[in-house]
Symmetry: C2
Subunit: 245 residues, 2 copies
DNA sequence: AGCGGTCGTCAACATAGATTGACGCGCAAG
DNA sequence: CTTGCGCGTCAATCTATGTTGACGACCGCT
């Protein structure tokens, strides 16, 4: 590792199971190399030949897809400690684009590195399998939001999800987060236009549900927001009871 | 196995890699038990305590989530040979509901059965990992459709996806499929009302894009439909080049 | 200090899709 | 043979969100 700080990935995963030395060293080997990106820089694009996955080390990133006519859908926001590229791993060419939401740093590692884990650490294998499927559950939550919620509910869901995710590695976090994405990006994540995002956020603010100050966002009435969207936290607890020992 | 026919799961997976005897027997052990369901019967519900996954043996099923006020989102249609429950595996309680779209049969197996695979078959492990992530990629495609496509495009995407999936195990399939879901269910899968589904399908039929006869559906102009939605087949080919040997 | 870009906001207008209610066909149950 | 229900369809009306265009605040650069 090139950083003195404990790996974000190890920190995030050890929230769920105890990692032995072999597991920790295997995970550390995923972060041997690193590369910095500046705000809005592309990491990779749809149809790139893709042999790598990435670990987020610093900064927010997001994955998205474009349509030929310019319509864009942001799929998922990625935070430090997240693994980037699971949806693309099954294919020779990437299915989505990755971009830096702000200045940050990624650690690329070849798909093949997973082999060593699959062969030697059944327990870590199970955890990676779980992380991929947890991501699936989260994308499904987003799908539910896009299919059946109105604009206000989608925004509530989006903010709640981000907050729940950030709390895993920030135990002492309150109901306030830094929000480095602009309203155009938020709209692309929720299937709305930036004008309507602006209008709806403003209404939510007037209703006392949230408040803003510069680039920070506060969930003033988190419980009410949760009730609005029937929110489930997919991050704080996972079922690892069936793991091999 | 209680059936004389080769397992659907083995058939589907061996489309991607060669399965050795150990792998085949491990997969077969997932289908030791079976249970039949009649059309519209629930398999499991959100908040059920869930220790099982399922292999679809016969018939179409689908997963969905409900909102407290009755809005419903169908997440994914499940065909013979598919594994049911990946998005729920990470949690103690189910995150979605499963229901039979028509009369069919499922094989339940406990999550723990994956342990034996993780411990003894790195190659099969990699394949299961791939299948879960392929499903992620497919849900992301659906998300893109829901976020950024209009009604006609969503329907085109939905029909193309189903057709591509069914072709894996039916090599000689043409552009015609049996469609056992009604328009209300199709609407719930695409975030539309059944009235609007009716109207839009009718328009597509008039435009010569598709045609219907009873419960069968034909993609009369498959290429044009693919161009409309920038369609990618996620089923015919996967990248297994990085698998352990 | 001036300047061009990004970003949020607002208002006027346009429209895709929802809602509601009605009708008819086919089919299974009595 | 009737009855009732699931299902597809159609039309009238309503509404949430998109579209376009404009303006002002802020911020880094010259």
């Amino acid at each position: 590792m090139t950083s003195d700080k404990k790996s974000c990935l190890v920190e995030k995963l050890s929230h769920y199971i105890e990692l032995d030395e072999l597991a920790e060293s295997q995970l550390a080997s995923l972060e041997e190399h690193e590369r910095t990106y500046h705000r809005h820089q592309e990491v990779y694009s749809e149809t790139d030949e893709l042999k790598y996955l990435y670990v987020v080390k610093r900064g927010w990133f997001y994955s998205y897809t474009d349509m030929p006519d310019g319509r864009r859908q942001i799929i998922r926001v990625l935070h430090p400690g997240d693994i980037v590229g699971f949806p693309d791993i099954a294919f020779e060419y990437a299915t989505s684009n990755i971009r830096a939401a702000e200045d940050g740093c990624l650690c690329p590692f070849p798909k093949q590195k997973l082999d060593a884990i699959f062969e030697k650490s059944p327990r870590l294998t199970a955890l990676l399998f779980l992380m991929a499927n947890r991501e699936l559950a989260c994308v499904i939550d987003t799908l539910r939001a896009m299919g059946r919620m109105d604009a206000r509910e989608r925004l509530a869901y989006f903010f709640l999800d981000l907050t729940a995710r950030l709390r895993i590695t920030n135990k002492d976090m309150t109901d306030t987060i830094r929000m480095p994405m602009n309203q155009h990006e938020i709209g692309d994540a929720l299937g709305l236009t930036h004008t309507y995002v602006s209008k709806t956020i403003r209404e939510m603010e007037n209703a006392g549900l949230i408040s803003r100050k510069g680039a920070t966002l506060t969930l003033a009435q988190e419980t009410r927001l949760e009730d609005m969207v029937d929110f489930s936290d997919r991050y704080s607890r996972l079922d690892t009871s069936w793991f091999p020992s």
